[in-house]
């Protein structure tokens, strides 16, 4: 799999896709959606779709792509090659969500959680297939969050397409297994050949599985923790594993939307300021001081008495 488009800038998201088989533009098709790398604290999360004519469902079964989780990496690479060989009737597309995108999305002011991020990636991919002329009639998805809600969301978004959201869809529907293979192969390759944007010299690539409970992953996180910057962009800052380590080993950083006891720090401080304003407004002519001109207050400029 050629990931060079993603590797050119792995701080942002990237879409990769196979050529669209001609038969998919003329015949009714089914499409499977699956993801890879949802749990790990390291590397990208990959969303994959795979599609083929409904008439070719049996051929998909014969590719024996089922249950990618139980396969070895080498086995998955092999199956991806087989999918590639079937390109006359099988197409795929991927949305690679860079760890930086995941961090900045999940940590942004307006709450954007991982489920919403996943749903949007899936929706974008289905839309992409439609835009390419694929005659979609059936969509099969492994569940993300509550299956019913997700199914409603997708059905509403894509009227006329029969949507099936099902836990363990990747072992039930060969087209989902195929999507899963594509996503996992991309995720494996991206992690293995991660190009660090940072100048870290020779980087130890023994990250382990990338799952927070893997001791190798944990020791890697400790080794590459920087007291000021935290981590390279390879790490998902929004994961509690990363946050917890930063809280204890890195220099504290405060933002204006930080929350303390569920309240924004800036809001809390504003309350104090309003209180002091009210007390200042009590009829005490002696403490009455003139307000600074708004030219200065608007510009956050003030006189100082000490350096």
């Amino acid at each position: 799999m050629d990931l060079s488009d993603f590797e050119a800038d792995n701080s942002v998201s990237c879409r990769l896709s196979s050529p669209i088989p001609e038969v998919c533009k003329t015949e009714d098709c089914c499409l499977g959606i699956d993801e890879a790398g949802r749990g790990p604290v390291l590397g990208p999360m990959v969303y994959g779709i795979c599609f083929c004519p409904i008439s070719k469902k049996e051929d998909m079964k014969n590719l024996k792509v089922a249950d990618s989780k139980t396969l070895t990496e080498a086995h998955r690479d092999n199956l991806f090659l087989m999918l590639d060989e079937a390109k006359s009737f099988v197409g795929w597309a991927l949305q690679i969500l860079s760890p930086n995108t995941i961090s900045t999305s999940m940590l942004q002011r307006a709450n954007y959680n991982l489920n919403a991020l996943s749903h949007d990636a899936a929706i974008d991919l289905v839309q992409f297939a439609l835009d390419c002329g694929v005659q979609l009639k059936e969509v099969f998805v492994d569940t993300v969050g509550p299956a019913e809600k997700y199914q409603d969301k997708l059905s509403q978004r894509f009227p006329g397409i029969e949507v099936t959201v099902r836990p363990k869809a990747d072992s039930l529907f060969p087209i989902v297994s195929a999507a899963s293979i594509c996503a996992k192969v991309a995720r494996d390759h991206a992690v293995k050949s991660w190009k660090f944007a940072e100048n870290l010299g020779e980087v130890d690539t023994d990250y382990g599985s990338g799952y927070p409970n893997d001791p190798k992953t944990k020791s890697w996180l400790l080794k590459y923790l920087n007291p000021v910057f935290g981590y390279p962009q390879f790490v998902r800052f929004s994961w509690s594993t990363a946050q917890t380590l930063l809280d204890s080993k890195a220099v504290p950083v405060h933002w204006d939307d930080d929350e303390e006891d569920g309240k924004k720090v800036s809001a809390r401080q504003n309350n104090t300021s309003m209180l002091s304003y009210l007390s200042r407004n009590k009829p005490d002519e002696l403490t009455h001081s003139r307000d600074t001109h708004r030219f200065f207050t608007e510009r956050k400029l003030q006189s100082i008495s000490n350096l």
Binding site: D9, Q108, N226, V228, F229, F237, V253, H254, R299, L307
Partner: protein, 136 residues
């Protein structure tokens, strides 16, 4: 004598030895004074597009813009030469760095001419009007 009699003198000749570093104003408070691996972690991850730069810091997206020092002004970083033993003593600062522009960063929001620091740059021009000598 009151503490107001203390002055902080400013070793101007130190300007000759001052370096000219890249200067950034971040949208967060970092509880640290001292070294940071800026060239290893930060500089290589900057993304420049037209008039806007973007980067992430600690997993938060930031958008920035370069600002020039107001015309006729020079940016200086002052450093205290020696910590005074008490607040009743004169102090000495030297120029450790000189800069002519810097990049200011907003948390997520794109830089606009309404940002406080941009508007603050209007002050020297207005100060000139307020404080310049009036005609006889």
């Amino acid at each position: 004598m009151s503490a107001n009699s203390c002055v902080t003198s400013f070793r101007l000749d130190s300007i000759k030895q001052a370096d000219k570093p890249q200067v950034h104003l971040f949208p967060c408070e970092i509880e640290h004074d001292g070294p940071a691996e800026v060239s290893a972690f930060f500089t290589p991850t900057l993304k420049e597009r037209k008039h806007e730069v973007s980067v992430s810091f600690r997993g938060r997206g930031m958008k920035g813009q370069e600002l020039n020092c107001p015309q006729g002004y020079t940016g200086l970083v002052l450093k205290e030469v020696q910590k005074p033993a008490s607040d009743q003593e004169d102090r000495i600062v030297k120029v450790s760095s000189v800069f002519h522009n810097f990049t200011y960063w907003n948390l997520e929001t794109p830089p606009t001419s309404d940002d406080g620091v941009v508007m603050a740059m209007e002050w020297p021009m207005l100060a000139e009007a307020i404080h310049g000598p009036v005609d006889k």
